[in-house]
């Protein structure tokens, strides 16, 4: 009974941890499947988080905060597109530049506008996305398995959590079942063929980076106005890069991307939940080891278990139309 409770609690926590990774991972998926490498996920998330925190604090509306986060993030995504698609610049350099701009800009603007050390003002509950308790969640809590899953794993998250997991099948459907998706994937594999068919390679790639921007905006907004109550300097803390690792781990496919992000979330949740708890036969595991576990496992999994990850063929290569 007790370990069932434990699993349910860890699952709930893992879901909350994996949401920003999942949004960012899907964002990278759109962009990279279209042949535009995006190392700037981290930066766009940070911009999104800052904008969401700022606008939510100023307008008092979480929804306006989310909208603003998406717009700001899309703007930076298009900037990345302008540098790497229109001007055929190096996609890695452009992505790194966006990360630097985001880190500096958010801290500087935050300090200038609010004068509280680069943070945005603390948000009240009306200005955030609060957890939604599902009906009867408290009543069903004691029923083994079904009740626990219902009340501790599925219920009690905020709306962006559900949006993230809905985005997975949506992305799958868009990529594999629509004309847009077919073209997007083709642009990342063989842009010349797409061009021959009379479709604008540049147009498709811009559409892809815009999708990427939208999802990064969601990831950022989740961090600052759903999971916490305000923007804090550098609050993405490397999540954009972990999302990139998850993307490679998932071999650029949406459903495996979800599992990869959940895995990272579970590792994080376990490291927190098992801290200071005696484990049968081992005793209390030192905090340091518990905290290193996610990273150790990441290395092992990435190095040993995924096999050969093949990136989209035209990834990182600007498309030059033959004259």
């Amino acid at each position: 009974m007790e370990w069932l409770d434990l699993i349910a609690q860890v699952s709930g926590s893992a879901i909350r941890f994996s949401v920003p990774l999942l949004f960012a991972c899907l964002a990278g998926l759109y962009s990279e499947r279209a042949g535009v490498f995006d190392i700037g996920l981290e930066g766009k998330m940070l911009i999104g988080a800052f904008t969401a925190g700022t606008v939510a604090a100023l307008t008092g509306s979480a929804w306006l905060g989310l909208l603003a986060a998406v717009l700001a993030s899309v703007f930076f995504a298009l900037l990345h597109g302008f540098a790497s698609i229109t001007h055929r610049g190096n996609q890695i350099v452009s992505g790194v530049a966006i990360n630097f701009i985001a880190a500096g800009l958010t801290a500087q603007l935050g300090e200038t506008w609010f004068k509280i050390g680069g943070q945005t003002p603390q948000l009240t509950n009306q200005e955030r996305f609060m957890s939604l308790g599902w009906p009867f969640a408290e009543a069903l809590r004691r029923i083994p398995v079904i009740g626990q899953v219902y009340s501790q794993v599925l219920s009690g998250h905020n709306i962006l959590v559900y949006a993230a997991f809905l985005a997975v099948p949506l992305t799958w459907w868009l990529l594999y079942r629509t004309r847009f998706g077919l073209r997007l994937r083709a642009v990342g594999e063989n842009p010349a063929a797409v061009d021959t068919a009379g479709i604008s390679v540049q147009g498709m790639r811009y559409a892809a980076v815009a999708c990427c921007g939208v999802l990064c905006g969601f990831a950022g907004a989740y961090l600052s106005i759903a999971q916490s109550a305000g923007f804090i300097e550098h609050m993405t803390a490397g999540k954009g890069f972990i999302a990139l690792a998850a993307l490679i781990f998932a071999k650029w496919r949406p459903i495996p991307a979800m599992w990869a992000c959940l895995l990272f979330g579970v590792l994080d949740a376990i490291s927190i939940r098992l801290q200071g708890v005696p484990i049968a036969g081992i005793g209390i595991v030192p905090v340091q080891l518990m905290q290193a576990v996610p990273y150790i496992l990441t290395v092992i999994l990435l190095a040993g278990f995924i096999g050969h990850a093949v990136a989209p063929k035209a990834g990182g290569v600007p498309y030059v139309k033959e004259k």
Binding site: Q9, I116, Q119, S131, S228, D268, A269
Partner: protein
């Protein structure tokens, strides 16, 4: 010739003395949590601001972004003639030691750590005593018999908070359970409210209904999670009762503000004294916060119990164990 030299020396000495008293240039270097962590560093900031308001003397401050900036910041302030230079946080110890040796005429101070040098004042607090008091309150406020503690970086200093807290809880209710979590093992653990919130949630899931944090900026997330879940949080260092009125049981006050103010003031008055100062309950260096935001949460029985514990500690009849004395917690 010699008389001339004497006169010159005397003049310089006079002018130096005058300049020390009149244009003292105090400076403060915060730790990684940053000036506005609403906790430890903000205490120092409040003390410095109060000094500015009281005396009209401006001060300079610096928020470090990474460990390598500690030395740079201290050296820059010393080079530019600032004195006293106050370093906030134990992590500055090595840097203070090194820079203080390079600038023997500059006065330095460090909070939370002892640096043995002729021009350094070290201020340390008996956090275990204040933590004991909030432990008493937590035990009395808890309905489940389970309370939590979330620490920042896993270091002996934070274990000292934890140990005092456990002592207070167990002295009040022998069988109560205390869950302890540390946020991390690097400086980043002072500024990770998302993780702090998750740690608090995991403790609530295990049945805790009061959680005390000693985690700087990370604690903002702890108190937020407590308020979101309808549980009680306990603030630290600064008075955090007002962050979520009605959801913060109390705050363990550590008067970093007073310490910073006093060092600045001593610098201005020319009464700076190197050496170690230990501030405990008896010296008013630590305590617990009671104000309009939490007075409805503190029942008369709780107040009586904590007042008694306070008197006993001051009188010496209760000795709160100091974790840092033997790296162990007997409770």
């Amino acid at each position: 010739m010699i008389r001339k030299l004497f006169a010159a020396v005397a003049m310089t000495a006079l002018m130096a003395g005058a300049s020390l008293a009149a244009d003292v240039k105090p400076a403060v270097v915060y730790d990684l949590g940053g000036r506005n962590d609403k906790s430890f560093n903000e205490g120092a900031f409040n003390g410095a601001e109060k000094f500015k308001a009281d005396t009209g003397v401006a001060y300079q401050d610096f928020e470090i972004q990474n460990d390598s900036q500690r030395e740079q910041a201290l050296r820059k302030f010393a080079e530019r003639g600032f004195s006293p230079v106050v370093a906030i946080g134990f992590s500055h110890a090595e840097a203070v030691k090194k820079v203080a040796a390079e600038f023997p005429d500059t006065h330095f101070a460090i909070i939370d750590m002892v640096v043995d040098a002729p021009n350094v004042a070290s201020i340390v607090f008996k956090e275990q005593e204040g933590s004991y008091l909030v432990g008493v309150l937590a035990a009395l406020a808890s309905k489940t018999g389970k309370v939590g503690f979330v620490g920042g970086m896993d270091i002996p200093l934070i274990r000292r908070f934890a140990c005092g807290y456990v002592g207070g809880v167990k002295a009040t209710k022998k069988d109560d359970e205390v869950f302890q979590n540390m946020t991390g093992t690097t400086g980043a653990a002072w500024n990770d409210p998302v993780k702090g919130g998750e740690l608090a949630k995991s403790q609530f899931d295990r049945g805790a209904d009061v959680v005390y944090h000693a985690a700087g900026g990370t604690g903002i997330g702890v108190l937020q999670a407590a308020a979101d879940a309808g549980k009680l949080g306990i603030g630290v260092d600064s008075n955090q009762n007002g962050l979520h009125p009605g959801s913060v049981l109390t705050s363990m006050l550590k008067r970093v503000d007073v310490a910073t103010y006093n060092i600045f003031k001593a610098g201005q008055d020319g009464t700076f004294k190197p050496g170690v100062t230990v501030l405990g309950l008896a010296e008013g260096g630590v305590g617990w916060a009671l104000d309009d935001n939490n007075k409805s949460l503190i029942t008369p029985e709780m107040k009586a119990a904590v007042d008694k514990a306070e008197a006993d500690i001051k009188a010496g009849t209760i000795q709160v164990h100091d974790y840092m004395a033997d790296s162990a917690c007997p409770y």
